[in-house]
């Protein structure tokens, strides 16, 4: 189980994931050896699943991000599985979420510009199976995105 030292490490590390073990040890007031051992345990225990580079899609020329909220035709029991399997084949879909609520699924879709988005929407999105209703929301700005946990 987690103790206060683990939590202290995670609190620092989640807001500064670029830190190496030595810097992290210094910030948490631990010896480098203790800090490295704790990090190993957090990784092997599956609490830290990965430390990922975050790609700036806008810098790579993807100016448009759209949230597509999808309601599925649930009379077909395979609707979720088939929809998700097909959505995975669209490279511009960068996130697939399922929900309990008014919305069944949400896709995050990126595109180079509005014309590219229109083309994707018509050729790749509308042809996904079992869609009952679909609604598009445009991203204007990310105001907070650190995704830290209140540990």
């Amino acid at each position: 189980m987690l103790d206060d030292i683990d939590r202290r490490i995670l609190r620092q590390y989640q807001h500064a994931p670029h830190l190496g073990p030595a810097d992290l040890a210094e910030r948490t007031g631990l010896t480098p050896a203790t800090c490295a051992r704790r990090l190993d345990r957090l990784r092997s225990g599956g609490i830290i699943r990965a430390n990922r580079a975050v790609i700036d899609w806008r810098a790579l020329g993807y100016e448009v991000e759209v949230s597509l909220r999808v309601a599925l035709d649930k009379t077909d029991p395979r609707a979720f599985d088939e929809f998700i399997a097909e959505a995975r084949n669209v490279p511009e879909v960068i996130e697939i979420q399922t929900f309990l609520g008014r919305v069944d699924l949400r896709l995050s879709v990126i595109a180079r510009d509005m014309a590219h988005y229109q083309e994707l929407y018509r050729s790749a999105i509308l042809s996904l199976p079992h869609i009952a209703d679909i609604e598009a929301l445009m991203h204007v700005a990310r105001i907070k995105s650190d995704e830290g946990l209140p540990l």
Binding site: L10, I55, L60, E95, G101
Partner: protein, 152 residues
């Protein structure tokens, strides 16, 4: 706009899975020398293609079993400034992301909580008391999958 070649894309894909990979480990996988891999990695950072790192934590194992997306509409546009709302909402520790959205509502919030009772506490004490809050729509997250994106 940053132009990437095939090798850059493969490096980006590896780093998106594990940003702690060393230049020599990446070089070995892609058949590059360590200095060549290092130069390309540095270029990806300096050009802004990589904007940072993110720790991928198992929320459930850390005791956060519930994630809810809230679609928020502001009630009194003009009277309450967007800045006031944004300042107040970003200060809530349980709110992980705040996105300004065009469409059905104004903002989308990603809220984490320990369980449904904890979520109710956050909703009542922190969200419902936000300045200018209007309608709120809640959707409980059941599953989430992040895809590599168009860098294949």
């Amino acid at each position: 706009m940053i132009a990437l070649d095939t090798t850059d894309r493969r490096i980006l894909r590896l780093l998106a899975a594990d940003a702690t990979l060393s230049a020599s480990a990446i070089g070995r996988r892609l058949g590059l020398s360590q200095p060549a891999a290092w130069r390309r990695i540095r270029k990806l950072h300096e050009s802004g293609a990589i904007k940072g790192q993110r720790l991928d934590l198992d929320h459930e194992k850390l005791g956060f079993g519930v994630t809810v997306f809230l679609g928020v509409k502001l009630a009194t546009k003009g009277r309450v400034s967007l800045e006031d709302f944004e300042r107040a909402v970003t200060a809530i520790p349980e709110v992980q992301t705040v996105e300004h959205i065009l469409g059905l509502y104004d903002y989308r919030l990603r809220v984490v909580a320990r369980d449904i009772a904890d979520f109710e506490r956050v909703l009542r004490r922190r969200i419902m008391t936000l300045p200018g809050l209007g309608n709120v729509e809640a959707n409980v997250l059941l599953s989430e999958e992040r895809r590599p994106g168009p860098i294949g």
